[in-house]
């Protein structure tokens, strides 16, 4: 099995392997095989289209966690300029699972904050698999309040399995750190745009996700609990994760239908990781559009709108 492809993508992996093989043969011999390769590539594209047309929520979940999926710092590099990372919560430590700093989006000064997963084993451990501790959320709060003081819009990137469930995190008040962010974000006098780029894991995601506009990449998810967690509690078996993913309606497309998402950002064929640059450009366009809308409003109207938006969640119809 090719590790760069998920289980349901294996037919595509096999097709790609064939194309690769043919190319190698082509290099060695004088026979012109470019026609043949072209045909196979067309076939591979069609196969990919077919597989990606009807992805189940569980397959989307797997894509949202794809080991090659671009992370916050990847998008930072592609979308923004002049980024300066800022560290630490001024209270305890710097949390590498949550990054942030000042940057420019085209001309505009902005504050960027996002969860960060690691790519290599060592890096994964350092970034705690994208699961922040309280100091991560408190750093985010510090940066967001700074953004308010210097009139910078806040752009957050969400990609976490959840806040870290560890002894040290509990000792330092994980709950309080998350709760405080929710409260503070509801009244910050600057536009906030959140973009879910991978996994939107529960309170750990929402802690940087209270916003004026929510954007989601097509193959990202946002959920109150992981499908595995939900399945093990309600179905008494983690194997029912696929059923849980379906029942909770955690995909970007479903959440758009339910009215949670403002902008659904389509991903290139095969997912964001297959064409990183193209995906980044789409996010950049969406961010600029959203910022144009939000910066046109005066602050009071913006805050009133944010509050009514929050109050509308689950309100009786």
């Amino acid at each position: 099995m090719n590790p760069n492809y998920l289980d349901f993508e294996q037919p595509i992996a096999e097709m790609q392997a064939k194309i690769e093989e043919l190319r190698l043969v082509g290099n060695d011999s004088k026979i012109n095989i470019s026609d043949e390769v072209g045909k196979l590539e067309e076939k591979s594209r069609k196969l990919t289209e077919q597989i990606f047309r009807d992805l189940t929520p569980w397959q989307v979940t797997q894509l949202s966690r794809h080991p090659q999926r671009p992370y916050t710092l990847d998008y930072l590099e592609e979308i923004f300029t002049d980024f300066e990372e800022l560290h630490g919560d001024r209270l305890f430590a710097d949390d590498a699972a949550l990054v942030g700093g000042v940057a420019r989006l085209d001309e505009r000064p902005v504050m960027v904050i996002g969860h960060q997963k690691g790519r290599t084993v060592k890096d994964k451990v350092r970034r705690n698999f994208g699961m922040p501790r309280p100091e991560g959320y408190r750093k985010a709060q510090r940066l967001m309040e700074m953004a308010e003081r210097f009139r910078m819009p806040i752009l957050t990137f969400i990609d976490t399995p959840g806040a870290y469930p560890g002894i040290d995190a509990e000792e330092r008040g994980q709950s309080e750190a998350i709760a405080r962010n929710l409260a503070v974000m509801s009244r910050l006098k600057t536009p906030i745009i959140s973009t879910v780029i991978g996994e939107g894991g529960s309170g750990g995601a929402l802690a940087i996700g209270v916003c004026d506009e929510l954007q989601m990449l097509q193959y990202s998810t946002y959920s109150v609990i992981s499908p595995e967690g939900c399945a093990s509690i309600l179905w008494k078996s983690a194997d029912k994760a696929s059923d849980a993913a379906q029942a909770m309606g955690i995909t970007a497309v479903r959440l758009k239908e339910l009215g949670f998402v403002d902008t659904l950002i389509e991903e290139p064929l095969g997912g964001a990781h297959r064409q990183r640059e193209a995906t980044a450009q789409r996010i950049r366009t969406a961010l600029n559009d959203s910022l144009d809308r939000l910066t046109a409003m005066d602050t009071e109207a913006l805050l009133e709108r944010r509050y009514s938006r929050l109050m509308s969640y689950g309100a009786p119809q």
Binding site: P165, I178, A179, L182, S202, L206, V210, Y313, G314
Partner: protein
């Protein structure tokens, strides 16, 4: 080993005892901590605190507010909210059926009740979680009711007091449930900006989405003794860190030590002490001590002292 132990395996006996524990109207009740068999009327008189070991038993929402507020002028508010199954959620059971069962079992519409009333004559708004209603989980009705109660507190300038007891978010309402964390926190932030006190009383247990929102945002966070309070449940943490959890982990006393709660208050003192802090915070004139002899002030008494008054 007696002949009885041989015939009845000890496991089976415990289970039977547990089952008896759950019978709501039995005349006898076993303390879950010291296992003393308690006469129910006496337990009621003692606000459901075990007279033998001082364990604070869980108190349902309605009893809680009836015990906490002055008897005169209590008024339940926001009673018209009914849960809706927006996602047609179904696991091994339908959410609809779970709701119906919970409503029948508790007599409540959902897991939160709200009352206006007075605490030793100080006007307040109170809310309490009903843990027996799907583990006190926060769905849309709980969030909506909480936010509206906070709005009443804001409009009428009354302090808000919440008694939390909850396993966290309600999975059957998925993202609707998650967003209640943001909704309730935003409503509380308005209260905070307006300078209206909010006291969050943490009772056994408080976890997950309720803990990581409204329950930790009190101007004062107050815990009942020995309550289990945290973000992640102990089992999840144990599975993640693969270590044995320290003694007393996530108990009220642990939270006090780590700076998460302001004080631990014994149930028998809750009314007096909350009234005291609220009257100070809201600049009430000092109340005359009604006929009580003036006693010397205990100076060695820490905030976290939970000793039972004799």
């Amino acid at each position: 080993m007696s002949w009885l132990d041989k015939i009845v395996p000890s496991m089976g006996r415990t289970q039977r005892a547990d089952r008896r524990n759950n019978i709501p109207d039995g005349l006898w009740h076993k303390c879950p901590k010291c296992e003393a068999v308690l006469y129910r009327p006496e337990l009621e008189r003692n606000s459901h605190v075990c007279p033998k070991c001082d364990h604070h038993l869980r108190l349902n929402a309605r009893k809680r507010l009836a015990w906490f507020l002055d008897e005169d002028g209590r008024d339940e508010v926001l009673t018209d909210l009914e849960p809706v199954d927006r996602l047609k959620f179904r696991d091994s059971k339908k959410y609809k059926d779970r709701l119906a069962a919970a409503q029948k079992g508790t007599g409540e519409n959902d897991a939160l009740i709200a009352m206006k009333g007075t605490l030793k004559q100080l006007p307040v708004v109170t809310v309490a979680f009903e843990f027996n209603f799907m583990g006190g989980s926060m769905g849309s009705v709980v969030g909506e009711k909480f936010a509206r109660a906070a709005t009443i507190a804001l409009e009428e300038q009354r302090p808000l007091i919440c008694f939390a007891a909850s396993g966290g978010a309600r999975m059957q309402e998925a993202l609707f449930s998650l967003m209640q964390m943001a909704k309730t926190s935003a409503a509380l932030e308005r209260l905070r900006m307006a300078g209206i006190p909010y006291i969050s009383v943490l009772t056994d247990p408080v976890f997950g989405g309720v803990s990581a929102s409204l329950a930790m945002l009190g101007d004062l966070n107050v815990a009942e003794p020995n309550a289990l309070i945290g973000f992640a449940g102990p089992r999840v943490i144990e599975q993640t860190v693969r270590e044995k959890l320290p003694e007393g982990f996530q108990r009220s006393e642990f939270l006090l030590e780590h700076g998460t709660v302001d004080m631990i208050v014994h149930r028998s003192e809750m009314r007096d002490r909350l009234h005291n802090v609220l009257s100070i915070m809201t600049h009430q004139p000092m109340t005359a001590l009604d006929d009580e002899p003036v006693e010397p002030v205990e100076t060695d008494r820490a905030d976290g002292d939970v000793s039972t008054p004799s």
